[in-house]
Amino acid sequence: MNVTVSEPLPEREVPRAPDSGSPESDFARLYEEHSRSIYYLCLRLLAEPGKAEDATHDVFLKAFRKIDQFRGDSSLKTWLYRIAINHCRNLQQAWHDRHMLSNADDVIWDTAVSPTDSPLRVLETKELGQRIQETLDKLPDEYRLLLLLVADQELSYDQIGSLTDQSADAIRGKLHRARKAFATHFKRTA
C-alpha cells in the first residue's frame, strides 16, 4: 500500500471557558482531551466530514447532558466512545446508506490472498484519507469498528470487548481477519 506522509498537524485550537473549575471549563478539558479520537471515529464510521462534525457535536452535548448517568465503572473515554458508537449506528440505520454484511466471519477474508504481514506502504498523503475511507467502506461494520478502536492505543482489548459486546479473545481472533480484509482492499485502492 502506497501513500505520502507528512508531519502530524499541530494541535487544534480548543475553545476554553474563561474560569477554571466551572462545569463548562471542566467540559472544555474533556473536549480538548477526547475530541480528536471521537471526531476521527465518527468521520471514519460516517464517511462524511459534515456528518462527522454534527455527530461529534451531538456526542459531546449528550455527554454534557448525561454526565449524571456516568457510573464510573468504565473510563470517561470508553463512555464517550460508547455514546459515539451508538450515535453513529443510529444515524447509519436511519440513513440506510451502508451496505450491511450480517456475519463478518463468514466471508472471503479467510481465503483472501493478501497476507497480513506485508507492510502497508504509503506514498501520497493527499489521498491517504480517501484511500482509507474507501477501504473501510468496503469492510463489514464489525471489522471497521474493531480496527478503529484498536488503533486507539489507550484502549485495552477488554475495553474494546466491552464496547463491542464480546470477549477480549474474540477481539484477538477477529482482529486478524479484519487486518487481512483491510490490507486486501487497501492495496486495491493504490
Binding site: G21, S22, R36, S37, R65, D68, L120, A151, R179, A183
Partner: protein
Amino acid sequence: MKREMKLNSQQQQQQEEQVHTQAERATEFATPEELLRHDALQTPVPPAIGQRLQQSVSQIKPLPKTWWQRLLGS
C-alpha cells in the same frame, strides 16, 4: 528545437527528483492500526465543532459543580 529538448530534459530531471523524493518519504505501516493512527494524527478536528458546542452548552442550565469535580478531579 534545442531549447525544447533542453526543457524536456529539465522536466525529466524534475520528475526524476520528485519520484526520488517520494520514494524517500514512503512510509511503511506494519498494520492497519498503525496506518489509521497516523491518519488520525493528520486529521484535524474542525474548530466549528468546539464553537457550536460552546454555544449549545451555554444554553443548557448549569450542572452542579460536584459532578464534574468528582469525575475530573478538579
